[in-house]
């Protein structure tokens, strides 16, 4: 049974917004998603009725708030099939999670000449933290290239990985929508003796995540792309890995004792959560996970495959060779995110005209400049859909592109 998208859309207040008396068509979900009522209400209700600091104080409300916070951690752990909630660390966002990987594990385990392998389709958040460490520690960074249709070129993966200590890669490209074979990549990393760090920002919101089936060593993702609030991200790693890593940020909450000349760390996962965490946001993320789990991630994925198929055909039927959609043509191999070039018009001009029709796409380099250079563009226009997107949104995009032609 397929999803009742019309009913689902009613759960998202922002999708009811009108601009200039007309509905909006939000096609920027790879950037950030909208929030359902259950997330908004859970956060609002918690702040009205349940708010208290967590972890420190022993009075009733603080204890209740701690329980609610930890329940959200358990929900997230279950959502990604972690072995235990202790493996789930809350951060500020996925970017901080990837910096945690580089600064904590990387700083402790990497030295001069060690090799970190990245791919040409990484977001800056999975490039720059490694480059920063590489500059400090004299590491070598190697790159997995792409094929002509912007899939990872795995033909010489084993030789690229030879001797590497880290293989950090995205599970889905934020520019191309390309879905990478995470299990295969984790296996290749392990064959080479490297750890596998997965940037899950684009896939976790859209399909089933199973860190155990993947065999991954670390996973980073953000709440705000998966119907949750901004301000909270997740870093996951197995307990043994987290135990072996030094703390990342120091401060309150992450210690068991502090003396004038030393400190000892708290147990997991508090060891990695210095300072007051985003309590309300974590609880909101818990509600988002409940929402997504209630729908079922395989249903979300099925809907997005159908919609991607519909969008691809609608754009190609209307515009043929006037539109270039970068990346895989088979919707099974890609998420519902696609970058496109249209009749040579600059993406900023495309998005400006689309905006006039309340069709919201992103134009720019999408924080993936190495990939943009491969594509041969300074920028692309990107339409990205989610579980609440529908054929009306696609039709609006297709129709609005006509107006781009008429102006340029």
């Amino acid at each position: 049974m397929s999803l009742d998208i019309a009913a689902l859309r009613k759960e998202f207040p922002m999708l009811q917004r009108q601009v200039g008396g007309k509905p909006i068509h939000y096609l920027d979900s790879a950037n950030s998603s909208h929030k359902p009522n259950c997330v908004i209400d859970t956060m609002s209700q918690f702040m009205r009725e349940g708010y208290a600091p967590i972890g420190r104080s022993s009075y009733t409300l603080a204890s209740e708030a701690s329980t609610t916070y930890e329940a959200a951690r358990a929900k997230v752990a279950h959502f990604i099939n972690a072995r235990s909630p202790r493996e789930v660390v809350f951060t500020k966002n996925a970017t901080e999670s990837l910096n945690l990987a580089a600064q904590s594990w990387g700083r402790a385990n990497l030295g001069k000449g060690d090799v970190v392998v990245l791919t040409h389709m990484e977001h800056h958040a999975n490039i720059v933290p490694w480059q920063m460490l590489a500059a400090e520690k004299s590491l070598e960074i190697r790159w997995v290239p792409l094929t002509a249709d912007f899939q990872l070129d795995l033909t010489s993966l084993d030789s690229i990985l030879r001797g590497a200590k880290v293989f950090a890669f995205t599970s889905m490209s934020n520019v191309l929508g390309t879905i990478n074979p995470v299990r295969e990549l984790c296996d290749a990393a392990h064959r080479a003796g490297a750890i596998a760090v997965v940037d899950g920002c684009q896939s976790v919101p859209h399909m089933t995540t199973d860190v155990q089936a993947w065999g991954a060593d670390m996973l980073a993702f953000s709440s705000h792309k998966m119907c949750g609030p901004t301000g909270v991200g997740v870093f996951w790693a197995p307990e043994a890995m987290l135990d072996s890593m030094p703390p990342f940020l120091g401060g309150g909450g992450m210690i068991s004792d502090v003396r004038l000349d030393s400190f000892t760390c708290a147990e997991l996962p508090a060891k990695f959560e210095a300072g007051t965490p985003p309590i309300v946001e974590v609880i909101g993320l818990g509600a988002a996970v409940d929402f997504l789990s209630g729908i079922g991630m395989s249903e979300v994925r099925r809907h997005e495959i159908e919609l991607t198929n519909y969008a691809y055909r609608a754009l190609k039927d209307r515009y043929g060779d006037d539109i270039t959609i970068h990346g895989a043509t088979n919707p099974e191999l890609r998420g519902a995110t696609f970058s496109f070039a249209f009749r040579g018009v600059h993406p900023h001009d495309v998005s400006q005209v689309l905006d006039q029709h309340n069709v919201y796409v992103r134009a720019g380099h999408h924080c993936a400049k190495p990939l943009m250079r491969l594509i041969g563009a300074n920028a692309t226009a990107r339409a990205s859909m989610y579980l609440y997107s529908d054929e009306n949104d696609v039709d609006a995009l297709v129709d609005a592109l006509d107006d781009v032609s008429s102006i340029f």
Partner: protein, 147 residues
């Protein structure tokens, strides 16, 4: 659609489709690069300056219609002008691109001509940086050329 017509005036589209002074100048002309890190637009401004006059100016680069048209109009406006005039024109243009009160630092009698067509950009704050990219790069280039 009236808003978009305000942004994409015919004179702007004309400069976008048929840019003036597009290309490079050989050394000893100076070359100054500018970029807009948020959107990836890149521009190079080539300047031939002597005796306090911009003898020639060219530009190359990639960008949206606003950034390219603005650069094209800029080159047309400053070519052959004295450095003082060029700076006054640039100041005036940057005033045009701001919604803040003018501080009177540019003489009111500086005429921008066609460039005034770009004032529609001000209604789209994210596009202002597109319009000023070429001008900021010009000002950097002038500093280099005079150094």
């Amino acid at each position: 659609m009236s808003n978009l017509e305000d942004l994409y005036r015919e004179v702007i589209l004309d400069h976008y489709r048929t840019p003036r002074n597009k290309g490079e100048l050989p050394p000893p002309a100076t070359c100054t690069e500018g970029s807009n890190p948020l959107c990836g637009d890149e521009i190079k401004i080539f300047l031939d300056v002597s005796d306090g006059v911009v003898n020639d100016v060219r530009f190359t680069g990639h960008g949206c219609s606003i950034s390219q048209a603005s650069a094209s109009m800029m080159t047309a406006a400053v070519k052959g002008k004295s450095l003082d005039d060029v700076r006054a024109i640039a100041r005036r243009f940057k005033q045009l691109m701001t919604i803040e009160e003018h501080d009177g630092s540019a003489p009111a009698d500086v005429k921008l001509g066609d460039i005034e067509a770009l004032q529609g950009v001000v209604k789209y704050p994210v596009r202002i940086k597109c319009a000023v990219l070429g001008w900021n790069t010009l000002l950097e280039g002038l500093a280099t050329a005079q150094a």
